[in-house]
Structures are given as structure tokens and as C-alpha cells.
């Protein structure tokens, strides 16, 4: 049995030596927010935090997760109680299909923990390790900046209502 500490809870799981961490989290713990696309460390959609540091779960063995604090998107916020970063992504619509989104949010979490007050350029640079094929790029960056404001209690929700002349 392998003991995994995930999102503040402990689990004893039967992990075979060759099993990939993302598979263990998804298939055994039902954490489908760990989205796997490339499975080779390139796209970042499977990003989780290992002791607060972002890691691609598709490149880790399940047993490597032992003795670490693992956080997945499920540990960040819930449907009824979103994390400010998640609220920001909703408000800025920092996604289209949403497949890459948990990975971006996990990356943003680690980034904002380090740099709570980033510039647009820093946010854009920090997000460039992940891939969004839908092309939500500018809105992802805006989400990160919006989240920074929220986390510092400086955010006023803006409403997009008018149908003409909306600027991005």
C-alpha cells in the first residue's frame, strides 16, 4: 500500500510500480480534475502541486507521491465555494473548452503564492508553460491578474452587459 496525502486527506492506495501518478489520482481517487492531454509533460493540463510546487502529474510515478502533500484542483475550491482564482477565471472567461483550465489554475496558484502582485508580463510569462489550444490566452492572463486583485481584497467585480463595442 502506498500512502498518499491528497488535498489534506490521507489515502492508502494499491499502486503498482509502473503506475503514473495522474492515473492513480484519476482512476483510484476519482480526481478527474487532473486532466491528462499530452501525457509527456508538455501541455501542463495535468498540473498539480507537490508541497506547493507545480508538477506535471503525468510525468510522476504514483509511488513518488508518497510523503508529499499533493494538491489537485479539487483541493483548491468547490462548486459552491470557489477559490478566488477560480472566480477570476469565471469572470474573465479564461477558457473555452475548459480542458486546460485546471492546469492553468494550479499554475496560477503556485505563481500567485510566490508573486502576489504580478505585472501583466510576469503573469503572461508564468502561464506560458501550459498550453491552451482554444486560444483563450489573453483571458487567461487577465484571469491571473484579476485573481491577484481578489486575493488581496482589492477586486470589484465588473459587469459586462452592453452588447456593443466591448473591448477585450
Amino acid at each position: 500500500m502506498t500512502r498518499l496525502n491528497v488535498n489534506g486527506q490521507s489515502f492508502d492506495v494499491d499502486v503498482k510500480a509502473h503506475e503514473i501518478l495522474s492515473d492513480v489520482l484519476r482512476n483510484q481517487l476519482g480526481l478527474i480534475g487532473v486532466k491528462v492531454s499530452c501525457a509527456e509533460g508538455e501541455c501542463g493540463s495535468c498540473t498539480i502541486l507537490v508541497d506547493g510546487v507545480p508538477a506535471t502529474a503525468c510525468l510522476m510515478l504514483g509511488r513518488q507521491g508518497e510523503r508529499h502533500e499533493i494538491t489537485t484542483i479539487e483541493g483548491i475550491g468547490t462548486h459552491d465555494e470557489l477559490h478566488p482564482i477560480q472566480e477570476a477565471f469565471v469572470e474573465e472567461q479564461g477558457f473555452q473548452c475548459g480542458f486546460c483550465t485546471p492546469g492553468f489554475i494550479m499554475m496560477a496558484k503556485a505563481f500567485l503564492d510566490e508573486n502576489p502582485n504580478p505585472t501583466e508580463e510576469e503573469a503572461s510569462m508564468a502561464m506560458s508553460g501550459n498550453i491552451c489550444r482554444c486560444g483563450a490566452h489573453p483571458y487567461i492572463v487577465k484571469s491571473v491578474l484579476n485573481a491577484a486583485e481578489r486575493m488581496q481584497g482589492r477586486h470589484e467585480s465588473k459587469r459586462t452587459t452592453g452588447s456593443t463595442g466591448a473591448s477585450a
Binding site: 493540463s45 479539487e74 469565471v90 469572470e91 472567461q93 473548452c97 498550453i131 486560444g135 459586462t160 452592453g162
Partner: protein
């Protein structure tokens, strides 16, 4: 000057509400195909061909079957004649037929108790191939003595759009310029992959998979396996970004075949490599063209011939190019398209098909003409592009249509066409307003310094600006009609049932907005099902920018129908028999419209619970459906994009950086500005990727895809595109679209390439082939310097 057709007061149309599945997306709980599981499910894997073209002489599965945990294997011997034609031309072939037509083609499949066992069993299937000659080059595939990929031959009938007389156009021209452009295939490179889960119980087949087109898939299964459509249930799950990739794919049919064999729920989950090398891609395309221009800037002729490869199983005759309409002001035109098969992975419709490729060639050649007569590219577009109300150029039907569109329309009665817009004429919008408004916002006249003249030079870095335009359809009818059904519940809530896809374009949200606006209820009162063919009416699905225009039309019509039924009951039971047309609903309350003095009010839920005078019971069924049919949209509706880019080119390294971006979109009434902005910029980024980095590489010896991973296939990332692009809308309302809305997702992808390419040209004075990688840029600069250096 910005006084556009200002919509009458809408309550919900135009609101940037968050998409209805936003919370699921940000919490990771949204279930895509890969996330879906069923109890007792087993796992399938596909054995793929290692050769580009071969007949399978012998296939032996004994060793695979003997592996513990293997439950069954299917080969072409299990699928004689199982043929699904696909409703469209993106796949035409049998499920498995004993011939392999590209490296990666499906040869067999295994079901086992685990993915690992299924995988291991693939190696235990012994295949003996009898090699056939292969053709891996699109031009060679045209030759008479080329190896034939398909029984029908390689070459499809030519598709042609003609107007006027080219010879005349040539006589009228002061200059005729020609050009050839070659495009590598763009990979969908879909983040999200896909899986298909299928059960075959008795004579019931159920399938869960990420798909844009649930109904087409239902038809496909019905056709292939000969089971009644009523016994086929397809549940289209949301997909990762699709762009046309996840529509109906053969791996789904293979999953059904396996499920039939083992009679257990089977899941086939594709790897990223399979998605990038064995499903589908954009065509390899070549456009040759000539354009004639008079000194006053009038385009006198447009003569284009376009070749595209369908890969192994595509069957398209043309690329659905609407650039011929965009540049419809050319006095004479002849556009010819030919599709040919090759022994390469299947190709098909990818976002802005045709308009991203052929459209780029037309725009570039038009730019060269403008340059020749020294005219501003913006003025040149305004002068030569189509305006609202003018005749469309693309009128004739495709090979797979029954008969001829003109004959069909001529044959309709006046009653049938009563309030249709004028057929074969543009119903609304154009690039005109977009270009004017964009020029102002972008300060175009200040920033554009002339053809091939940089805006700014700083050492080796040169900045230039460019403008590009793009067009596409708003859905087409060839894939089938569109439909929507709505149901009104006792509590006043509304269910919408529409066949549509959820690939991130947000149309489930915008359709809900259409329904809420028409029904006069808050958005929270409307819920929608788009994917389950057990409940949604058959419709062509989400492709060709159909959903807002066609499905939105159907949804509004269905709501109108339900509303009429409701208001008739209200008139009878509550408003003393008043003409129901005098009633209206606002915020779920029925009242007499336009009569503030009349203070009678009844809420929908109250009325639904009134014991009616005719039945002595409450109204239990109000279901709305569209009355009448939608006019053929290809005969009148288009979407328009105009985009402005500033780039910085380093002439020392060949690197291109986009430094400023403005995207204008005319898709009629904006249903949801947040959704539309995302579509517009997502499109621009897709187009930017296509002209800057993307291109598939095939092994010249056997056609296998060499860059089948995101490691080797470069996509734009944040930082590669400005983080603060501006988007603006022109809302020229369409007479048919729901509340005046039209399609949106594809023209933005078509406009980006021309804008960026022109900006590069203006920065460095050279036209660069696409993708404009640093090497290509450097080569173009060198080639240009060569003759100049010699001349001086």
C-alpha cells in the same frame, strides 16, 4: 458614424453572463469523453497499420486471444461491408476493410480487462501485408498513373464558382499578377484527446463520446450496423478544443464493433499521438492564382485554382471557401477546387476550412494588386469587397447535394419563400463598417506608411502594420436540417433540447440566452440538453459555424411556438378571451403588452397550474417546435472579420513578434460579448499559429507523421500573442438569424493570417511563405537581397 442597427431593448441578448458550465470547468468536474466510465467497463486498443498502403493478406489473432485478460479481437473479418458514409465528406469508408491506406490506419482492435493487457495484445496480432504502391504527394496523386488510394479513384470532381468572363477581365486589367502558395497541413493538436465508450445490449447500442455532432453519429451507427435509429443512443459529451476534429470518427465505429463482439461496455481512449497522427488534420493545399487590376484599383478578374489532399478517407470536393464572396466585387471570377486522395492520414474540415488557406492566397494576391496600383490595403478592400445586399458568388451546389440549389429555390412557391431574404444575395453585414471602425481604433492612417515601409526601425528590429479580412458561412444545410424542441414545465421553467456540440464555443449558453429572451423568462429558468439523441431532435450538429445561426433560429422558433400555445391558454383562462397576440411575457409574468393601464398579471407557473375550462385539469403539455423551415443559409448568410496587426520582425534572426492586435467582428447581434470575444481571439490565435509556426511533417518514405507530439509541434503560448488585444463588434442584424445574430467562430481565424502576413511584408518589404518560421523569414530576406544586391 457608428450608428449601427441598434437592437430594440433586449433583456438577455447581449449580456456577458458567465457560460453555464463555468463552475464545472474551473473546478475540473466537467466530464469529457476521457473522464467517462461505466460499471463493468472493459478497455479497447487499436492496432494500427505500419505501412502506407497494403492489402492485409493474413491476420492471425490466436496469440492475442490467448493472452489472459483478452476478451475479444476484431479485424476486417468481423466487419464485412460495414460501411458508414458519414453525413459529411470528412470520412468515407468502411470501418475495417482489410486494406491499410496510411500509416496509422485502423487494422484491428482488442478488448481486455485493462488498458495494459489490451496494449500488450496488440503486439500479438500477426499481420501479413501485401504492399501496394503508395502516393504521398498531393500533385502526384493527380497523375493518371498514380497509385489509386480508393476504389473511386483519387481525384474528385472539380468544384467551380464562375462569374463573368476571365478573358474580358484580363482585357480590362492594366496589370495581371500571378502567385502560387503552398500550405502545410495544420494539426488540430487538440488539447483533451478523446475516448469512446460503447455498450451493445441486445439490439440497443449506446455510445458516449466527445462529439460536435451527436445526430450524425447516430446516423452513422445506424448506417454502418443496420440497426434502427430508435435503438441507437449517442450521448455527445463536451470535448476539449475540437475545431472540427471530434465530429464522427472511425475510432468510434471501431469501439461499437468491439462492443458488439464482447457484449460489454468498451472504452477506447486515444493517446495524444493517436489524436495527432491517426484521426484527422487540415488538408495540404496549393493555391495558384492570377488577379487583374485596373489603375484605379478595380479588380477586373480573379482566377484561382486550388488543390487539396483529402488524405486517405476524406472525400471533399471543395474547401467551402467564402473568400470568393468576400472579394466578390471582382468583375470576373473563376475559382476551381479539386480534392485528391493520398496515402496520408485523413484530412477534413478544420476551423475556417478553405478560408484560412485559399482566403490567405486571395488576400495576398489582392494585396500585391493594391501595391501595384499603390493603393492603401484598406481602401482596396473597401473598393473590391462585397457589400450587404449584393449578389453572392458562391451559389451552386456541391457534388453531394441532390440537384441544384438554384433549381430548388426556383421551384419553391411564394408561400414557401414568403418572408425569406433575397436568395443568392448577401442578407447582412460586410467588411465595410469593420474596416472603417477598425482604421479609426487602430489609427491605421497614421501607422501605415506605405507598402513595404516599416512603421518604425530600431536596429535590426522593424515594425510593420497590416490589415486582413476573412469570411465564412453561418452553417450550411447539406449536412441536414436544424431543429430544437422546448418544453415548458409547471413551475415556469423551460427545457431546451437541441443537437449541438460542446467544444468550448459556448453555444449551450448562447442558446439558453436565445430561449430566455424569446420566452420572457430569466436565464436561470432555462436549462438545455444538447448531446443526448434519446431526447434531442435530429440536427446537423455544431460545424460550419452553424449553431448560433441555424440552431439558434430553431430554438427561437420553438420558443415562439410554445409561447403562442401558452398565451392562447392565458387569453382564454385569464384575459377574458383577448387576442393572444396582444399578450406578452416579461420576467415570467404574462400581461397585456403596450397597455400600462391594464394591470392584469399572471405568472407562467400560476397559469400552468390553473384548472383549465376545457380539460378541467392543469395544462400538462406545452412543447414547442419550429414551424416551417429555415431558408438555405448558404444562399444568403455570411460572417465577416477584419483584423489589424502590428508585428516586429528581427531581420537578424528572422523572429516575428506580434506587438499589437485589433479584431473586429460582424456576426450580427451579439448574443454574449464574453463568449464572442473569446471566439474572435481564439480564432485569431489559431490563424496566427497557422501562419507563424504550425505545419505537419510527413516522412517522405512512408507518410507517417513525424511531429506527432506537442514537443515537436509548436503552438502559440501566452506571451506569443498580445495579452491585451482589442475586440470590437459591428452588429449588422440579420433578417433570419435569432434576434439578428449570425455565425462567428471561423472568419476570425481566416482574417488573422492575412493581417499578420501583410504586417510582416510592410515591416521588411518581402512576402514570406507560410509558416513564417525564422528560417523562412531569413531565406525570404536573402532571396530578396540577392537580385537587388546584384542590380545595384
Amino acid at each position: 458614424m457608428n450608428v449601427l442597427h441598434k437592437p430594440k431593448k433586449f433583456k438577455i441578448v447581449g449580456q456577458g453572463i458567465p457560460v453555464i458550465d463555468a463552475r464545472e470547468k474551473v473546478t475540473g468536474s466537467l466530464e469529457y469523453g476521457v473522464d467517462f466510465v461505466l460499471p463493468r467497463m472493459v478497455h479497447g486498443k487499436i492496432k494500427r497499420s505500419t505501412v502506407p498502403h497494403a492489402r492485409i493478406k493474413r491476420i492471425d489473432v490466436t496469440r492475442a486471444l490467448a493472452l489472459p485478460g483478452v476478451l475479444g479481437v476484431v479485424t476486417h473479418e468481423d466487419a464485412p461491408g460495414l460501411n458508414w458514409m458519414g453525413v459529411w465528406d470528412n470520412y468515407r469508408g468502411q470501418i475495417l476493410d482489410g486494406i491499410s491506406r496510411f500509416v496509422g490506419d485502423e487494422v484491428a482492435a482488442v478488448a481486455a480487462t485493462s488498458v495494459e493487457i489490451a496494449d500488450a495484445a496488440l503486439d500479438l496480432i500477426d499481420v501479413e501485408y501485401e504492399p501496394l504502391p503508395a502516393v504521398l504527394d498531393v500533385e502526384k496523386a493527380l497523375l493518371d498513373d498514380a497509385p489509386q488510394v480508393r476504389e473511386e479513384g483519387n481525384v474528385r470532381d472539380e468544384y467551380r464558382v464562375v462569374w463573368g468572363d476571365l478573358d474580358e477581365g484580363e482585357t480590362q486589367a492594366d496589370y495581371v499578377i500571378d502567385q502560387e502558395m503552398r500550405y502545410k497541413a495544420q494539426n488540430y493538436a487538440g488539447i483533451g484527446r478523446n475516448a469512446c465508450i460503447c455498450t451493445w445490449d441486445g439490439d440497443q447500442v449506446s455510445m458516449w463520446t466527445s462529439s460536435q455532432t451527436p445526430s450524425e453519429l447516430q446516423t452513422g451507427i445506424h448506417q454502418a450496423f443496420g440497426i434502427p435509429m430508435s435503438n441507437v443512443r449517442v450521448v455527445a459529451l463536451p470535448s476539449g478544443c475540437s475545431f472540427g476534429l471530434w465530429w464522427s470518427n472511425n475510432f468510434m465505429m471501431v469501439t461499437a464493433l468491439l462492443a458488439r463482439k464482447v457484449r460489454k461496455p468498451v472504452k477506447i481512449e486515444l493517446t495524444s499521438q493517436e489524436c495527432m497522427a491517426a484521426v484527422k488534420r487540415r488538408h495540404i493545399e496549393i493555391t495558384r492564382g492570377r488577379m487583374g487590376v485596373a489603375k484605379d484599383g478595380t479588380l477586373t478578374m480573379a482566377d484561382f485554382s486550388h488543390l487539396m489532399d483529402n488524405g486517405a478517407y476524406g472525400f471533399k470536393t471543395d474547401v467551402y471557401f467564402f473568400c470568393c464572396d468576400l472579394w466578390g466585387g471582382a468583375r470576373n471570377g473563376d475559382y476551381r477546387v479539386r480534392g485528391v486522395n493520398t496515402n496520408l492520414v485523413t484530412s477534413g474540415c478544420m476551423r475556417a476550412v478553405g478560408d484560412i488557406t485559399m482566403g490567405l492566397a486571395v488576400e495576398r494576391l489582392a494585396d500585391k494588386c493594391a501595391h501595384k496600383v499603390n493603393m492603401d490595403p484598406l481602401e482596396f478592400r473597401i473598393k473590391n469587397q462585397i457589400k450587404s445586399g449584393q449578389q453572392l458568388r458562391m451559389q451552386e451546389p456541391r457534388q453531394h447535394m441532390k440537384g441544384n440549389l438554384t433549381d430548388y429555390i426556383d421551384g419553391l412557391t411564394e408561400e414557401q419563400t414568403g418572408n425569406w431574404p433575397k436568395m443568392f444575395h448577401l442578407s447582412s453585414g460586410s467588411t465595410h463598417e469593420l474596416l472603417l471602425k477598425g482604421a479609426e481604433k487602430f489609427r491605421w492612417h497614421e501607422r501605415w506608411k506605405g507598402w513595404g515601409v516599416p512603421t518604425r526601425v530600431n536596429g535590426s528590429k522593424r515594425r510593420g502594420v497590416g490589415v486582413g479580412t476573412g469570411a465564412h458561412c453561418c452553417g450550411v444545410e447539406f449536412g441536414g436540417n436544424t431543429s430544437s424542441v422546448v418544453r415548458l414545465n409547471h413551475d415556469g421553467s423551460v427545457n431546451v433540447f437541441s443537437a449541438a456540440g460542446r467544444q468550448g464555443q459556448g453555444s449551450e449558453t448562447t442558446l439558453v440566452q436565445v430561449a430566455a429572451e424569446e420566452m420572457g423568462v430569466p436565464v436561470e429558468k432555462v436549462s438545455i440538453v444538447t448531446g443526448d439523441t434519446y431526447v434531442v431532435p435530429w440536427a446537423s450538429g455544431s460545424s460550419a459555424s452553424t449553431t448560433m445561426f441555424r440552431t439558434g433560429w430553431a430554438t427561437r422558433e420553438a420558443c415562439r411556438d410554445a409561447k403562442t400555445q401558452l398565451l392562447k391558454i392565458a387569453a382564454r383562462e385569464f384575459f377574458d378571451g383577448i387576442d393572444h397576440e396582444k399578450l406578452d411575457i416579461e420576467d415570467g409574468i404574462i400581461r397585456v403588452a403596450d397597455d400600462p393601464a391594464d394591470n392584469r398579471r399572471i405568472a407562467i407557473d400560476e397559469l400552468m397550474n390553473v384548472l383549465c375550462s376545457d380539460s378541467l385539469s392543469q395544462t400538462s403539455v406545452i412543447t414547442g417546435r419550429p414551424n416551417g423551415v429555415m431558408p438555405p443559409t448558404i444562399a444568403f448568410a455570411r460572417q465577416w472579420a477584419a483584423q489589424f496587426a502590428e508585428v516586429e520582425v528581427d531581420v537578424g534572426t528572422g523572429e516575428i513578434r506580434i506587438t499589437d492586435y485589433l479584431a473586429g467582428q460582424d456576426s450580427g447581434t451579439v448574443m454574449n460579448p464574453k463568449v464572442l470575444k473569446n471566439q474572435v481571439i481564439g480564432g485569431a490565435i489559431c490563424g496566427a499559429g497557422f501562419v507563424l509556426y504550425e505545419g505537419m511533417e510527413f516522412d517522405p518514405s512512408d507518410g507517417r507523421v513525424l511531429n506527432d507530439s506537442l514537443l515537436d509541434y509548436k503552438l502559440l503560448r501566452t506571451g506569443d500573442f498580445p495579452s491585451d488585444p482589442e475586440v470590437f463588434f459591428v452588429e449588422s442584424q440579420d433578417p433570419v438569424g435569432p434576434f439578428g445574430a449570425r455565425g462567428a467562430g471561423e472568419s476570425p481565424a481566416a482574417a488573422a493570417g492575412p493581417a499578420i502576413c501583410q504586417a510582416v511584408h510592410n515591416a521588411i518589404g518581402v512576402w514570406v511563405d507560410v509558416p513564417m518560421t525564422p528560417e523562412t523569414v531569413m531565406r525570404a530576406i536573402k532571396e530578396n537581397e540577392g537580385p537587388k544586391a546584384m542590380a545595384s
